[in-house]
């Protein structure tokens, strides 16, 4: 039975991941801002086999003491924490961010600034335990700045470097950290985009990779679905004079 803290349990990918743990009778803390929705997700996870699903109301960007909050969540799990999973984030509006510094700040805040103290708190907790995984969901958008979403990409890139550093820090501790670089996933975050086609994955598919990453140390960066590793290898290496002719 695993013990798992889900930061951003109302995200579609987060909920899909929690379902995988529930099927194996995990004990879960579900953190997010809307308590009624958390209760709905929690009842579902219980019906799907979770041993416990505790709703935890928190605004990650407005929390004064992430470390303390995380400790209290862990205490609820009554035992060592196997995984701390971080899902919260927002795509934001790139075009708006170019005109309105407030939107740019919001994108950086949610995806980076707010996530940093939670990651550091998680690292400290897992380091003390000498076991467990921190898995943080970043994006393939972090691999190369593109005109369509580079503010978001920059925030996720910053987050990726942070988690890479934590992975290094934890390397000899028994705990580990992973950055997930997710491709296009069919969730409310991408509802406004034109979707469909082989590049689009379901949350459940991505969730399987996230869970596998939490259980297997030694791979600090995981692309999901797997083929994005190769797509991004190409995208990163396309020379600028070619790349700049695209509207990606």
């Amino acid at each position: 039975m695993s013990r798992v803290i889900v930061l951003g349990a109302l995200s579609a990918i987060g909920e899909a991941t929690a379902r995988l743990y529930a099927a194996d009778s995990a004990r879960l803390v579900l953190a997010g801002r809307n308590i009624e929705r958390l209760e709905q997700v929690g009842s579902d996870l219980i019906a799907r086999g979770a041993a416990a699903a505790r709703s935890w109301q928190v605004d990650f960007a407005a929390c004064a003491d992430p470390a303390g909050e995380l400790e209290r969540m862990a205490a609820h799990l009554e035992g060592p924490v196997d995984a701390i999973l971080l899902f919260f984030g927002a795509l934001g509006d790139q075009a708006l961010a170019e005109r309105d510094p407030g939107e740019a700040a919001r994108i950086i805040d949610v995806n980076f600034t707010a996530a940093v103290p939670w990651c550091l708190a998680a690292a400290a907790l897992l380091e003390r335990q000498k076991a467990g995984a921190l898995v943080v969901v970043s994006s393939v958008a972090a691999d190369r700045g593109r005109q369509s979403n580079y503010v978001y990409g920059a925030a996720k890139a910053g987050l990726g470097v942070l988690v890479e550093g934590i992975a290094h820090r934890l390397a000899r501790s028994g705990a580990h950290a992973v950055t997930i670089k997710a491709g296009f996933v069919d969730t409310p975050m991408t509802a406004h985009l034109k979707r469909g086609g082989p590049l689009w994955a379901k949350p459940a598919t991505v969730a399987r990779d996230i869970r596998a990453a939490a259980e297997r140390p030694g791979r600090p960066i995981v692309y999901t679905p797997w083929f994005w590793r190769f797509i991004m290898l190409v995208v990163r290496n396309v020379p600028a004079f070619v790349f700049h002719k695209t509207r990606l």
């Binding site: 109302l10 579609a12 709905q40 009842s43 019906a47 082989p198």
Partner: protein, 441 residues
């Protein structure tokens, strides 16, 4: 907050009609109210996994609410066998939770990729219809969200007209937000399945009558491509649940048809060859077999997106129901008409339905025989053939299944469902569908 986004990717299972619709896919029930309160007067329709073949799950130029993200279990009582869930929960997902605990839904259709809301709105029937009745019989309660009355909780047995209108109500009475179902106990995930080859429709009816008492599940595959004296040959399948305690649920299928096939792929030569081969394999195969529920109930789910095999033009399913007295003659006549046309039905399924009353006003299932046929869409000749089949069905006092229909004339619908006028009084003023505009206007 999820909003509506214009797109042209949502197709029904037959893929004949391609329409532009504004689609919203809410992730939480509390978003539904906002989606109903759109300022303009374009109509709405809630849909599930789009496994209806025709246009009852389409709302061209208007709005769709994709319910599939609302797929949470609300409560599962695994002692009493009652489950409450959001309407977008897929049957397959539900079965994976309840089978290991020794439960099954009261009936299932031929696919597990259908949502509870969709199963309810079509009041689907299964291979055990002669015992368990239609899906609606297992519905204890449902919650409906309407544009004019807000949230309404309805229970079976209260004599509510709105409840009866919603079961089999084609999504027109409002959004079904959650459903409470009574479950059936099982002691195994496996069935004892028997296959009997028959040479004539007459033999089918004899087998069906003789098995109704002894077997919980019956269905027949008919070789509608056979000619002359072989016309009407088929394989009758009957089964009962085993009780060996092995409650392993199904696994998700891995095979898929990734792209639309060229439309010439499923031509009548291929279909004839396929049906002939299937006939020979099945006739000589093992007569009795222990079989898991997934291949027994959901044989087509083995390959996802198999509907793409029909290519760009898509296909029509034609499913009729004819009353018992006229059944044998009508089914024979339908098959002769198909034979004469030279068109080939890739897959033809024949089943007798039992006398138990379906709870919905527009429920399709009632006592008689139902024949389901798949025809590649070849345009005018296909539609002309289906028109001739209509005449036979009408003569026999039968009707067509809206879940499978994308073309029946309005008068055919009205003749088959005389209750449609009382039903119409319960339609939510903001709701409509391509199907409804076609048959009721």
């Amino acid at each position: 907050m999820t909003g509506f986004v214009g797109q042209d990717q949502f197709l029904s299972w037959g893929r004949v009609e391609r329409v532009h619709q504004d689609v919203a896919a809410p992730a939480f029930r509390d978003e539904l109210k906002g989606l109903l309160a759109q300022p303009d007067n374009r109509s709405l329709l809630a849909v599930g996994l789009g496994r209806s073949y025709g246009d009852s799950c389409l709302n061209g130029g208007q709005r769709l609410i994709d319910m599939t993200r609302l797929d949470r279990l609300i409560a599962l009582d695994s002692t009493g066998g009652i489950v409450q869930a959001e309407a977008g929960l897929a049957l397959g997902d539900l079965l994976r939770r309840i089978v290991p605990k020794g439960w099954f839904t009261t009936t299932v259709p031929g696919t597990r990729h259908a949502t509870l809301g969709g199963l309810l709105a079509n009041d689907v029937h299964g291979k055990n219809n002669h015992r368990a009745g239609s899906f609606g019989r297992g519905v204890r309660r449902l919650s409906l969200l309407r544009s004019d009355q807000g949230q309404i909780d309805l229970a079976s047995g209260e004599g509510s007209d709105l409840f009866a209108a919603t079961i089999g109500g084609l999504g027109l009475t409002g959004i079904i937000t959650s459903v409470e179902l009574e479950l059936t106990p099982i002691r195994s995930a496996w069935l004892d399945v028997e296959r009997i080859a028959f040479g004539h429709v007459r033999d089918f009816f004899r087998l069906a009558a003789e098995s109704a008492g002894s077997h919980e599940h019956t269905v027949a595959w008919i070789d509608c491509t056979a000619r002359g004296s072989e016309l009407g040959r088929g394989i009758f399948q009957r089964a009962n649940w085993l009780d060996d305690g092995d409650l392993v649920p199904h696994a998700e299928s891995a095979l898929s048809v990734p792209f639309e096939a060229p439309s010439a792929l499923l031509n009548s030569v291929v279909i004839r060859a396929f049906n002939g081969l299937y006939w020979r394999l099945q006739k000589s195969g093992r007569a009795r077999q222990r079989m898991h529920y997934a291949p027994f109930f959901f044989p087509l789910d083995k390959v996802s997106h198999w509907n793409r095999l029909y290519g760009r033009p898509g296909f029509y399913q034609y499913q009729c129901l004819v009353p018992p007295s006229a059944a044998e003659a009508a089914i024979e006549e339908l098959m002769r008409e198909i034979e004469a046309s030279g068109a080939a039905s890739a897959l033809s399924v024949l089943k007798t339905l039992g006398p138990s009353r379906s709870p919905g006003m527009l429920s399709f299932a009632r006592e008689g025989a139902t024949l389901a046929l798949d025809f590649a869409n070849r345009g005018a000749p296909t539609l002309a053939l289906l028109g001739r089949l209509d005449d036979i069905v009408r003569q026999a006092g039968g009707r067509l299944y809206p879940a499978k229909d994308g073309r029946m004339p309005a008068d055919m619908f009205r003749a088959g469902y005389p209750e449609w006028t009382s039903f119409a009084a319960h339609v939510d003023p903001r709701f409509s569908s391509n199907f409804w505009r076609r048959v009721a206007r």
